[in-house]
C-alpha cells in the first residue's frame, strides 16, 4: 500500500498534468476526490440529487480553475471551498428537500466504534437524531455547523468561503448550536 507521501507526490504529478490539459489525469483526480466532494455536498444541501449536481458542478469548476491552483493548500481543502461556494449558489436556486432517505438510514449501520449491539444502537439513534436536528437548521446555520464542528474549519475560513464577516460566522454558529441542543433535547 503506498504511503501518504507517495500518494501526495502522485497527486502533485496528476495535478501538474491536469493543469496542462491532460483530461485522463483530471479523471484520476475526480475518482480520488469525488466521494469526499459528494459527502460534503450532501451534508450541506441535504437532498442526494441536488448534492450530485453540486458535486458535478464543483468538479467542473475545479477543472476550469485548476490552472490557477498553486498548491498553497491541499487539493481536498481547495475542493471543499469550491463545494461550499457551489452549494451556496445551488441553494439559492433550489428549494431544500427535507426527506431522510432509506439510504441515509442504512449508512448509519456501519459506524466506527460501534463494538456492541447496544453501543451501535445508541450511536445510530443519536446520529439519526443529530442528522434530523441538522436538517432542521436554516441553511446558513447548518452550513456553519458542518464546516466548523464536522470539518474543523476556522471562523475566518468559513467567513471567507461563505462571503460573510467573521462576526457573522460566529453569531450563526452560536445560534445554530443553541438550536441543535434544543432539537436534540426535544427528540430525546
Amino acid at each position: 500500500m503506498p504511503t501518504p507521501e507517495v500518494e501526495r507526490e502522485k497527486e502533485k504529478e496528476l495535478i501538474a498534468r491536469a493543469q496542462g490539459g491532460d483530461r485522463a489525469a483530471f479523471a484520476a483526480l475526480v475518482r480520488a476526490h469525488q466521494n469526499e466532494v459528494y459527502t460534503l455536498a450532501r451534508r450541506l444541501v441535504g437532498d442526494p440529487h441536488l448534492a450530485a449536481d453540486v458535486a458535478q458542478e464543483t468538479l467542473i469548476r475545479a477543472w476550469r480553475a485548476l490552472p490557477r491552483f498553486r498548491g498553497e493548500s491541499a487539493l481536498s481543502t481547495w475542493l471543499h471551498r469550491i463545494t461550499v461556494n457551489t452549494a451556496w449558489t445551488h441553494k439559492k436556486r433550489a428549494k431544500r428537500h427535507r426527506d431522510v432517505s432509506i439510504d441515509e438510514v442504512a449508512d448509519l449501520a456501519d459506524l466506527p466504534g460501534a463494538n456492541t449491539p447496544e453501543v451501535a444502537g445508541e450511536m445510530i439513534e443519536l446520529r439519526g437524531r443529530l442528522r434530523v436536528a441538522l436538517d432542521e437548521l436554516p441553511d446558513s446555520q447548518r452550513q456553519v455547523v458542518i464546516l466548523k464542528d464536522v470539518y474543523g474549519w476556522s471562523h475566518s475560513e468559513i467567513a471567507s468561503a461563505m462571503d460573510i464577516s467573521v462576526t457573522a460566522a460566529k453569531v450563526r454558529l452560536h445560534r445554530a448550536r443553541a438550536r441543535l441542543v434544543r432539537s436534540l433535547e426535544e427528540s430525546a
Partner: protein
Amino acid sequence: MSVTCELAAPFVATSAVDGKPVVRAFRSHTESCLKCQARHAAMAKAARELSAMAGESQDAPRDLEWRVMSSLDGDLAVARSIRKPVALVAAGLSMAAALIIWRLRPRPQS
C-alpha cells in the same frame, strides 16, 4: 425551565463543543442547574458524533465521473465550435482588408 436556562443554552452548547468552561456570566447558574448540565452532556456527545462524521464518506453516484468528464467534452466541443467561425471571420476580414488596400493603392499618373 427558567429564562436563565434558555439564555445560557448557546453558551452551554458552545462550551460542550469547544471543551471550554461556560462563560462566567452563566457559570454559577449552570454549575447548579441539572437541566443545563444535562444539556451540556448531550451536546458534548453530539459534538463527538459531529467530529466523527468528518472521517466518514458517502459513495458518490456511480455516474458522477462520467457526468463530469462528459461536461468537459461539452466545454471542448463549444471551444471547437467557436474556433471554426472565428477562423472564417478572420479570413474574411483579411481578404476585405487586402481588397481595400489594393483598391486604394497609389496608381501611377498617366
